[in-house]
Symmetry: C2
Subunit: 206 residues, 2 copies
């Protein structure tokens, strides 16, 4: 196609590590960035920004995320293994800088809520806090952790147990208009943005 450039695998493999990471992380598209809150065995909460979140099914309601290899990102997965419960909280422009700051390598057992200045919110008897500042959030119960042998990452699968949404953005047929909540997307390792207004299409038939 006009003006397109072909990047061969040989060329990509020859790149410096960070250049390649930026390129490959952007190539698959925008991602549903969120803050995952878990509980350290000490009882202190942990908060970390994740982008690789994926809808797995509506009935039962299952949502997965990719946790990087254990040595690179040990806290969230270990806390989920220990407590079995975690919350996922959308990111909005009012606190995106704080959300990004949770990606710093804080020591184990440190609460990123305190470090970055977000507010833990305890709801409906759930032991793990939500992010008060987030207007779309949900709690999950661990279903399964699948190690991906190709690169040491993990697909962490959770079953939805509780959802919290601004009711004003839920449409008559259940669709949640996240553009009205300004739920953000991320791109690559360090890019964030909001979306435009949403166009919905009819159910397609041949």
């Amino acid at each position: 196609m006009l003006n397109m450039k072909y990047y061969s695998l040989n060329e990509i493999n020859s790149w410096e590590r960070f250049y390649r990471a930026n390129f490959i992380n952007s190539l698959s598209g925008f991602k549903p960035v969120s803050l995952i809150s878990t509980l350290h065995k000490s009882g202190l909460p942990n908060l970390a920004v994740f982008s690789n979140i994926v809808h797995l099914g509506a009935d039962p309601a299952l949502i997965g995320f990719i946790n990087r290899p254990r040595q690179a990102a040990p806290h969230t997965i270990t806390n989920i293994e220990n407590s079995g419960v975690y919350t996922i909280n959308h990111v909005h422009p009012s606190f995106v800088a704080k959300a990004h700051q949770t990606s710093a390598k804080y020591a184990e057992g440190v609460s990123e809520f305190e470090e970055v200045g977000l507010t833990p919110e305890y709801n409906d008897g759930i032991e793990v806090p939500f992010v008060l500042e987030s207007s779309v959030k949900y709690a999950l119960s661990l279903s399964e952790i699948i190690p991906l042998k190709e690169n040491g990452t993990f697909l962490v699968i959770g079953k939805l147990t509780h959802a919290y949404v601004l009711p004003s953005i839920v449409e008559q047929d259940g669709f949640i208009d996240l553009s009205k909540a300004e739920s953000m997307v991320s791109l690559g390792i360090d890019g964030y943005t909001t979306t435009g207004s949403i166009s919905r299409f009819d159910y397609a038939k041949p």
Copy 2:
């Protein structure tokens, strides 16, 4: 939090099927919508819109997507099992209606390229076509298909083999500014939109 509504699992499970599907499909956030092109054993290409695409790692470059249960969505996964090669093509506003139309249940062996009016583009000896109209696209070689026992879906993992990007949107450090390409995101089952311009943050330190 002020104005938030709590949706219990009991309430969610009581909903009519389509209401629940709209709600749960929206809850996890915006998704990197793309067209996946595969080859039917007849040699005709197949094209289908997918949203649940996930970055798995940069070295090696691995990208996954979720294929629904085989009886609901048999063509893409079967073609990938047969040929081992597929392409993923970003969706832009100029052809989003055509992209959505590929979700119709066409018979096996029908080319959605022809049915919806998109152009197959054969590049660099790859047997599976790309979507000519797309300005960010890549080819993958099948690495592994992991069945998710919870709901009969599959995580299809591919290894990047070829990438095609408008060079004008690749920044000095490898970051691809997909907002300039107007790569779209999807929401729920039938919502699509573009993004605003992207803010990048510094590498976070404690």
